[in-house]
Amino acid sequence: MTATLGRFLILASVLVSTGGAVIGFYAGRSHSPGGLRLAQRFAYAYTVLMLAATGVMEYALLTHDFSVSYVAHVGSRSTPVWVTVASLWSSLEGSILFWGCILGIYIAVATFLTRNTHREYMPDAIGVWLSCAAFFSFLIAAPANPFLSVAPVADGPGPNALLQNHILMVVHPPFLYLGYVGMTIPFGLACAALIRGRLGHSFVKPLRAALLLPWVFLTIAIMLGGWWAYEVLGWGGYWAWDPVENASLLPWLTATAALHSIVVLERRGVLKGWTITLIQSTFLLTILGTFMTRSGVFNSVHSFTQSAIGPTILVFLAAAIVFSVALLALRIDRLEAEGNFDSAVSREGMFLFNNLLFVVLTFTILIGTVFPLIVEAVKGRQMSVGRPYFDSMVVPIGALLLFLLGVGPALPWGRASASQIKRALLPPIAGAAVLFLLGFAFGARNPWTLITLAFGGYALQVTISHLRSPIMQLRRARRRFAGYIVHAAVIVVFVTIGISSTMRYTQEVHLTKGGVANVGAYSITLLGVEERQEPNRTSTLARFAVAKNGVQKTTLEPRMNQYLMMREPIGTPDVYSTIGGDFYLSVMNIDPAAQSVAVNAIITPFVGWIWIAVIVMGLGGLMALIPQRVGELRTGAEPAASDLAVGPTLGGEA
C-alpha cells in the first residue's frame, strides 16, 4: 500500500513537472500572463508531490515497512531513530528522492518570491527548473525507484555503517544537497536571461541571491565533509583530493568566481556573458558530481554502490551541456555590455584576474580528477592521481588568490593614478611583515607556509581597514560588511590550512595498560582496553588519560567499530581540541585480551579554526543575502545607488 502510494506520487510528479515545463516555455514564447500563472501552479504542485513522496518514504522507514524495497534495503529495527530518519539519504534510491524533495522546495520558494516580478524571464526560468525536476522524477520513477513492492523481510541490514558511525555524516549530506540542488535555481534564471537575449540590471539581484544561498550551503557542506574525514578516517587530515571531494569543490569554485563577476556586472554592466557561463558551468558541475558519486565510475569513500543510473545521468549531463552551449552561442552576442573597463590595475581588473585564477583552478582539479579515466580509456592501464599533483598545482594558485584578496579590495574602481595605487598598495605590507615574522618566530619554515602568512597578513590588514568603515553604517552597507566578513574568514582558512598542513607532529605509540608515553608537550597514560556491545556494532576502545605539561586535561577514547554488514572495521579517533590546536589519537591496532594498543598520536596546530572560519563564511554569506530594503527581492525594482555600494565578494564598492 505504502509502496503503491509512493509510486503514484512519483508518477504524478513526472507528469506535473513535464507539463509545467512545457507550459513555462510556451508562456515565455507567447508572453502569456495566464500561461505564467499556470506554470507557477504546476511548480507548486510538483513541490507538494515531492514533499508527500518523501513523507511517505520517511513514514515507511520509521514504521519499518519492509514491503517497500528501499526500507528492506537500508532499514533496520536495531538502528537508533536518528539513523533511521537519515537512512533516506544513505543509499542511492533514497538520495535521489531526497534530491527531488529539496529541488521541489527550492522551486516553490523561488517561484513564490518572484511571483509578481521579472515576468519577462520567469516563464522560461520555471520551464528550465521543471525540466530538471522532470529528469529527477524520471530517475526516481524508473531506474532508481525506492518504492518497489517486495516480499516483506523480518528485519533489514541498516544503512551504510559510515553513516551510522558519526553524527556529522547525518548533517553533511543534507547541506551538500542544499548546495548542489540549489544551483538549479540560478541556472534556470541564467538560461531564461539567455532565452530572452537580455540581462537587465534588476534581474542581476535575484540571480545573485539565487547563487549566494546554495553557495553558503555548499561552503558549509564541504567543510562538514572535511571535518567528518578528520573525525572519522583516522589519518588526521581533512582533505585527500578524493574524486568526490573534488566534485564538491568544482562547482564551489565556479560559483565563487560567478559571485565575484556579478559584482563587476552590477557595478560596471560588463561580463554578462561570462557571468552566465560561470553560473551554467556551476550547475553542470553539480550534475557531473552527481554522476561521479552515483555511476560507480570513480572509486571513493563517497561512492554509492555500482548502479545502472550512471548512463541515465550521463545522458542528462550531455543534454544539459548541449542545451547550455547552444543557448550561449545563440544569444551571448545579444547581451551587450553597458559599460567598459578603464584600466587593468583597478578593482575590476583584479576581479577579472581572480576569475581567471578560479577557472584555471577548476580546470586543474577537473583534469586531475578525470585523468585516471583518460589513461585507462587510452592505454588500458590503471593509475591514480595523488596528492603531489594537486598540492603542487593548487597551492601556488591558492597563494595567488590569497594575494588578490588583499590587492583587489585595496585598489580603487576605475582608472587610478600611480600615486593613488602606491598609497593603496604599500601600507598593508606592514600586515604581511607582522604575520610572516610571527610565523617565523613560532617555527614556520616551509616556504609556502611563510608565503601564505605574508599574503594572509597583507589581505588581513586590507580587510580589517575595510571592515572598520561599514561597521559604523551597518544598516546601509550590510552587503559590504558581509563581504569583508567572508574575506576575513577566508584568510583565516588559508592561513590555518597553511600552518596545520605543514606543522603537524605525528608519533606512533605502543602501550600496554598503565603505560605512559610522551608526545610533544602531551603525555598519555593507557587506562585500559575494553569491548562494548551495541545493537548495531561492537566497539573496542582504548581509554587514555591525557595531560599537557604535567596537568591532567581530559580522557580520550579512540576506538574501532565493527558493524555487522561491513567487511572491515571502522575506526573512530578521539580528539582533544583547544584554541591553539588539536591532540588527536587514532587506533592502529588494539587487543583487549593483552590490554595493549598501538595509536597514532597527532598534534595539529590551529586546525579547529578552519571549521569555525568556514561557519563564519557561511554566516557572512547569509548576512549578504538579507535584502537591504524590505521587499527588494519581490519588487524587482531598479536598485538605488546606495545599494550598489556593497562588499567585495558579495557586493561592490569599498
Binding site: P157, L288, F291, S295, G296, V297, F298, N299, S303, Q306, G310, P311, L314, L317, A318, I321, V322, S324, V325, A326, L328, A329, L330, I332, D333, V370, L373, I374, E376, A377, Q382, Q562, L564, M565, R567, E568
Partner: protein, 173 residues
C-alpha cells in the same frame, strides 16, 4: 550565432562525455592484484573437523577456488550457499577451499554444520596466509589455474555469474 562559443563548448562537452562514457561499466574497486599471473603463495594449514594438514601443492593439477572468509562477516553468509552449490556441481574438476582467519574453530564448525559444506575449510590461525595473499577483508576469493598460478581475484560476495566469469580465467590457462 557565436561560432567560437559553439565549437569550444561542444568540444569540451564531447571530450568530457566521451571520457565519462569510457569509464561506465568498469568497477573502480577492481584493482588488479600484483599477485595475478604469479604463483600462489604456498601454505600448509589445519583442516576444520579432521585436523589434518592441507597444503597447496596437494591441490595442483586442477583449478582451485580459494575463498577467504570468517563467521563474523555477513557478506560471507550471503555467498556461502553460492559457493556450496557451485562446489557440488563443479568438483572434482575444480577444487574449492575455504580459508578462515581471525576466528575460532568452534564457531567455524557451528557455521558449517548449520549452513552446509561441500569442500574443505582450513584455519589460518595467525593470519599469515591472508597477509601473504594481501587480503584486505573478507570475503575475498582467488582463482588458481591447474599449475598453481593466480589468474583472478574477486573482492566481496560472489554470485554464480561472478564465480563463472572469474573461474573461466583460471580454466582457460
Amino acid at each position: 550565432m557565436n561560432r567560437t562559443v559553439l565549437f569550444v563548448g561542444l568540444f569540451i562537452a564531447a571530450a568530457v562525455v566521451a571520457i565519462l562514457f569510457a569509464g561506465l561499466g568498469k568497477d573502480p574497486q577492481a584493482i588488479d592484484s600484483p599477485l595475478i599471473g604469479r604463483p600462489a603463495p604456498t601454505f600448509a594449514l589445519r583442516e576444520v573437523g579432521t585436523g589434518k594438514t592441507i597444503n597447496l601443492e596437494q591441490l595442483r593439477g586442477r583449478p582451485v577456488v580459494l575463498n577467504f572468509w570468517a563467521t563474523w562477516c555477513v557478506p560471507c553468509y550471503e555467498e556461502h550457499p553460492t559457493l556450496v552449490a557451485n562446489a557440488r556441481a563443479l568438483q572434482p574438476r575444480v577444487q574449492f577451499l575455504g580459508v578462515v582467519f581471525q576466528d575460532s574453530e568452534e564457531k567455524i564448525q557451528g557455521f558449517l554444520n548449520e549452513r552446509g559444506h561441500a569442500y574443505p575449510t582450513v584455519v589460518d590461525d595467525a593470519g599469515k596466509t591472508a597477509i601473504a595473499y594481501g587480503v584486505g577483508g573478507v570475503p575475498e576469493t582467488f582463482f588458481l589455474d591447474s599449475s598453481g598460478t593466480i589468474q583472478a581475484k574477486f573482492v566481496g560476495p560472489l554470485t554464480t555469474e561472478l564465480l563463472d566469469e572469474n573461474l573461466q580465467k583460471a580454466i582457460r590457462q
